[in-house]
Amino acid sequence: MKFEKFTLGLTLLMLSATTAAADCAFKNEIPIKAITSAFPAYKAIADNMQECGNVQVELDQEVRTKSAPALAANPALYHISSVHNGTIVPLLNQDTIRPLDDLVAKYGQGLNPNQLIKIDGKIMAIAFMVNMQHLMYRKDIFADLGIEVPTDYEQVLAAAKKIKEAGVVDYPLGATWMADWNIGIDFDNLFVGYGGEFVNDDNTPAVNSEAGRKTLEMMRKLSEYMNPEYLVADATYVQQQFQQKKIAFSNFWASRAAKMDDPAESQVIGLIGTASAPAAVPGGIPAVMFSWDGIAIAKNITDEEAEAAFRVALEGGDTEMVKENNDLAVWLIDGYQPTEMAKGAIETIQNGAKPNPSTVWRGLINDAIEKNVVEFMTGKKTVDQTLTDIEAAYTTSAKEAGLL
């Protein structure tokens, strides 16, 4: 029995390998290794890359911590690494990824100009998709109670109050406020919405400001409409709260939108609408920062390998792949048909949302923010203590990192 299963698996594998080779535009002869994030969109890209042959892709939740040391090795342990606004910083700082201008000129005719991530005039990465939080809401509840889709956070509070009074769900609001980078991001989003700047031009902290105070006060108010266990809520948790009809709306990750209509998991199929992330102040820009996600090519490899790796990566993220996996992400690749669920993401960017800054201080200040905001939310620190402690913690680590 076991043996039969094994041979069956083997046959399937060979079948997929043979059909696969036909799908790739060229036959890859040079062994290529890649490490990418593990969410479904990357799974689709990885499958398509592997069709070219001689490609080994590791899908890993911890690319964030692994790619920098792996690419710093000589020769690099991977030819291709997935990157986003944040993870590209250590790679740029250690100079372990190569400019792609020549390769783009040679092979990149199919690329959308929007995909080229240019830093200091050089193309350093190819973006495949964008991701951000934007409003997701239960269309049925909002229609029944006659609530307009909120465009700023005062309206969010008003809508939450109405829904709470109507008592139609356990808790009106959901938020990815798990006590790690999750809650840090949400602080950042609101902070930017209130016009805050994280650091001054000389890298000294600037979080202890009016924007910082307003952000903390707004977070306190929002928390009153959430499940009190919000500090353990990661994206999967909030996704399940939506799917199981426990919350009515949330500023939630675009990459999870497809899961709302997944018949295997969701009880809210067709009931979730998306809209731009709300502004912090009426008429302001959306209180959210968006990221791009894509790939970069290692520097410490031969030019032939780099060429093959680049071609393989492009095959992974080509129009054909997007057509097969249209709903998995908000793709930047030509051929993408924005779905109803992508409306929120596109509106958010059109309303002027800013990209996540790719800088060294970003990670340092986020670390300081995460911890102290958590202690503010658990009531251990006051608004002023929180903001002072964020600046103190940042100053300590910025000195160690040579920024101050």
Binding site: D120, A127, N203, E229, P355, S358, T359, G363, Q385, L403
Partner: protein, 338 residues
């Protein structure tokens, strides 16, 4: 044993201990006094990222690492003395807290918060582990031979489970709408949120540790019970000693070296409490010293790690372990010489 034979047997072990324990420790000790600062320059950089319908390009002032001709970041290393220890312990804030008559304020500092939890955790779980372990050992020892196998097997189960897995399964019983939470909610007829209470999370973590480690104490004590002198026990019975008196004056003195041994192991293990924090997602409520070191070591999104502070905090953790096991070790040493 001939001296040469002795060294042939012990040599490889000592070599490996030096290689894998002593040398890394010395290197961590060294690192806690030296600081490598990367050189950073500020430059105007134009960055283009995706937008709808076209790209967004902006020019901002950015700090970036200076690279040498081989493309490696330029760093300078210098001796910083106790600076890293100071930024972990923050003696100024401690001094201020005590002089202003509000010592609780030091719990705002991660290190002291972690130390508070670690010490409480270690010393509260200890008596429960010893007591429960001894109770199970006595129960098994007094049960009929036919029942012993199954009872031993069941009692050992918690110890066999991988710590993080065991922790997560207990966490799931209580988090959100976990089975136990639902049950309590039904009994009290109101909504409760266990994980929002720091003390509840702390109690759960201790409960989990006792449940997990008690079988280890049980196995040791059970083995010890097999060696209790039957004659002494019988003569105690003839002298009219009650069950408790026999336990107090015969069994416990016999087990004492084992109790010291289990205490020692437990103190060392639980001072390094870590898995519970991860499994119970407790970092928002409680952190431990080991977790603090781990947190310093974790690179943030821009790839920065606080190696210096991580080294300092792991040295402090080690000093802490030595301090708490010192009394137990001295006792064992005295008994050994006596």
């Amino acid at each position: 044993m001939r001296r040469q034979t002795f060294w042939k047997f012990v040599g490889p072990s000592i070599f490996l201990m030096v290689l894998f324990i002593a040398l890394p420790l010395a290197s961590v000790f060294w690192q806690s006094f030296f600081h490598s600062v990367p050189s950073v320059e500020s430059v105007e950089v134009e960055t283009c990222s995706p937008g709808f319908p076209t790209q967004i390009c902006e020019t901002v002032l950015k700090s970036r690492a200076v690279l040498d001709e081989n493309g490696r970041p330029v760093t300078t290393t210098h001796f910083v003395g106790l600076d890293f220890y100071r930024s972990v312990v923050e003696p100024d804030v401690v001094w201020q807290a005590f002089s202003s008559g509000n010592p609780a304020a030091i719990l705002r500092i991660d290190f002291w918060r972690a130390l508070r939890f670690t010490v409480t955790f270690t010393f509260i779980t200890l008596p429960f582990v010893l007591g429960l372990g001894l109770a199970i050992a006595l129960a098994v020892n007094n049960s009929t031979a036919r029942m012993r196998g199954p009872i031993i097997f069941v009692s050992l189960l918690p110890y066999i489970i991988t710590p993080v897995i065991g922790g997560i399964s207990i966490y799931w019983l209580f988090v959100g709408d976990g089975i136990v939470t639902r049950l309590i909610e039904a009994m009290l007829d109101r909504n409760i949120a266990v994980m929002t209470h720091g003390w509840a999370v702390e109690a759960l973590m201790m409960f989990y540790r006792v449940w997990h480690i008690a079988p280890f104490a049980f196995v040791i004590f059970y083995a010890g019970l097999q060696g209790v002198n039957r004659d002494t026990l019988e003569s105690a019975m003839i002298d009219g000693a009650s069950r408790f008196e026999r336990l107090r004056y015969v069994i416990i003195p016999h087990l004492l070296p084992l109790i010291v041994f289990v205490t020692l192991i437990h103190l060392m293990d639980s001072y390094r409490v870590f898995e519970e924090i991860v499994a119970f997602n407790a970092q928002s409520q409680r952190i431990s010293l080991q977790w603090l070191t781990y947190d310093f070591l974790q690179p943030d999104d821009s790839g920065n790690r606080a190696i210096g502070r991580a080294s300092a905090s792991s040295m402090l953790t080690m000093i802490g372990i030595v301090l708490i096991i010192l009394p137990v070790l001295r006792r064992a040493w005295r008994d050994h010489r006596a």
